[in-house]
């Protein structure tokens, strides 16, 4: 195994998609075997805690701590382990790559997680449009069953773990973990009241853990090499590697596994090849559509949870979207708010009514109907809809992150539109 790039290094080593034979010949499933045959569940949880693995889906919750919330003991009964592979955060394309090219690291991570929490049934909740990744994962699961890595009595123990693939009907809100559980149960994907949280009452009312694809993929390496090794992979206080991506007008849009805490500038300039000729960076969304804009002054920041948060945004999924100087920030906000308005589940009023209203106000501004005071209205709405306790889930607050930061960094663009009815000339 590649001990510097434990998630995707093997893809380069085998020169493409990693099948079961490739995976095993590089030490694959050794970690799951060791966890299941030699480690107590609580030891696995402690190890993941010590490693300081944090959720890679965007929120960054400590994985080991989440696992420790699951009730243990002989009379707890059925528990579920669910992989959130509903990658629908605009600008995010990391889980597609992992599942397509290295599906066994996900399966192995889930086996270890299932052992840790005592789940005998697992689900991968895959977004419906992921046909090619789905085919690869289906093959990986079938191969793992054929080898006795999944199913009854895995690794010659009395441990059972079944893994199934659920293909989503398609809706962004399915990425919210309780909405995902409703979707898994065949229902409308509306978020659930919390508490109870899924580790206490999740899928079909049973204790359930939901983790992102990349989170699970980090687990085999931690079991194989230990917490200290994992800490050593990070460039800053956070541990491990991170899949970082860049899209937009850069020379080489793509995805790289780098030490977590690599600077934004290194990711954009060295890995993504810098901006295309004739385009300048004006801002970027660091980790998907629901993260606040950052600008040039933030380029030397480390892409880790704490640093990006201190700068007023979130690392999110770690796949950044570049806004170049040919793009109008007001129009980009319109595009973002259109997405969030459309994908609101419609359950609670501030989100269902507020997001389309924000979108329509942005359209008014863009079509020359902007009025004095519109920016105050937008700011007030960003605060109201974005207030963490004003809506049932975090969909609407996420939607307001790019808007509130655009009002801060690109205010003159909004003002120019309102005063003149036309786009501000490009800066510089």
């Amino acid at each position: 195994m590649d001990d510097v790039r434990p998630l995707i290094g093997i893809i380069d080593a085998v020169g493409g998609r990693v099948g079961l034979d490739d995976y095993e010949s590089h030490g694959g499933y050794d970690a799951a075997r060791r966890a299941v045959t030699e480690m107590a569940p609580s030891d696995v949880i402690d190890l993941v805690k010590d490693a300081n693995l944090r959720g890679r889906g965007g929120a960054g919750f400590p994985t080991g701590m989440k696992w420790s919330f699951v009730p243990q003991g002989p009379d707890v009964g059925l528990k579920y382990l669910v992989c959130n592979a509903d990658e629908m955060e605009p600008g995010t394309f990391k889980d597609r790559y992992l599942i397509t090219y290295n599906p066994h690291v996900l399966v192995e991570g889930m086996i270890i997680g299932a052992h840790a929490i005592g789940a005998e049934q697992g689900y991968v909740f895959l977004r419906g449009e992921y046909h090619e990744p789905g085919a690869e994962l289906e093959r990986a699961i079938a191969d793992a069953y054929a080898k006795g890595l999944l199913g009854q009595g895995i690794f010659g123990t009395e441990t059972n773990f079944d893994l199934r693939l659920h293909r989503s009907g398609g809706r962004y809100i399915c990425g919210e973990e309780t909405a995902l559980l409703n979707a898994l149960e065949g229902k409308r994907a509306q978020p659930r009241q919390k508490p109870p949280f899924p580790p206490a009452s999740g899928a079909w009312g049973r204790p359930t853990i939901v983790n992102n694809v990349e989170t699970f993929c980090n687990v085999p390496g931690i079991v194989r090499n230990g917490a200290e090794w994992y800490h050593g992979l990070g460039a800053t206080d956070d541990a491990g590697t991170k899949l970082y991506g860049v899209s937009g007008r850069v020379n080489k849009p793509g995805l790289w596994e780098l030490p977590i805490g690599t600077t934004v500038r290194e990711i954009i300039d060295e890995h993504a090849g810098g901006m295309q000729d004739g385009y300048k960076l004006r801002g970027f969304l660091p980790g998907g559509a629901s993260t606040d804009f950052l600008v040039e002054e933030h380029l030397d920041l480390a892409m880790d949870y704490g640093t990006i948060q201190a700068a007023g945004s979130r690392m999110g999924t770690g796949t950044m979207i570049i806004m170049d100087d040919s793009i109008c920030p007001v129009d980009m906000c319109r595009n973002l708010e259109h997405f969030f308005a459309q994908e609101s589940c419609g359950f609670c009023t501030p989100c269902r009514e507020g997001l389309p209203w924000v979108e329509s106000l942005l359209i008014d501004i863009l079509e020359g109907r902007g009025e004095e005071g519109d920016l105050d209205i937008l700011a007030r709405n960003a605060q109201f809809i974005g207030g963490p306790t004003n809506t049932f889930c975090l969909h609407a607050p996420g939607a307001m992150e790019p808007l509130q930061s655009a009002l801060k960094y690109f205010r003159e663009d909004f003002e120019h539109y309102i005063q003149n009815g036309t786009r501000a000339p490009s800066p510089g």
Binding site: M88, G91, Y172, G186, L255, M332, N335, F339
Partner: protein, 168 residues
Amino acid sequence: MTQAVPQPLESFVQVLADEEIDEIEHECAQLPDRESAAIDAMMIVQKRRGWISDESLGAIARLLGMSVEALDSVATFYNLIFRQPVGRHVVMVCDSVSCYVMGADGLRGRIEEHLGIRTGETTEDDRFTLLPIVCLGACDRAPTLMIDEELIGPVDAENLEAVFSRFE
């Protein structure tokens, strides 16, 4: 948790093919209750028929022991379940932010021109239905679109014939 399988009634046996019923029953057998197979069941039927008609909806609801209204509330929630007929090929053009930055709005206009329909419509020969879709998770290949199950990107707006001619 097992539940009795409702006996097939003639009315819906005529609607659903044996293979569809078998596939749906296979899903039900692996889930804690039959309603949990609602999305899977509609996907199974849509795969063969292209969309979920009122007739199909009623038959699936009956098979799962649900009311038609409850199943329709699920059907209409999801972007990928079609409650209206679609053409032989469904074209979904990403309109999310990375593709937007790379010119998706202009691309959609060019595709509408090329196919002679607006977004949301089907060509007269039933060959293509054009729909918007949220981020397809291939932002390094923006702008992207998906035709049936095939992801295409970056799409060259100047050469759309090459994109569409493969789909008859």
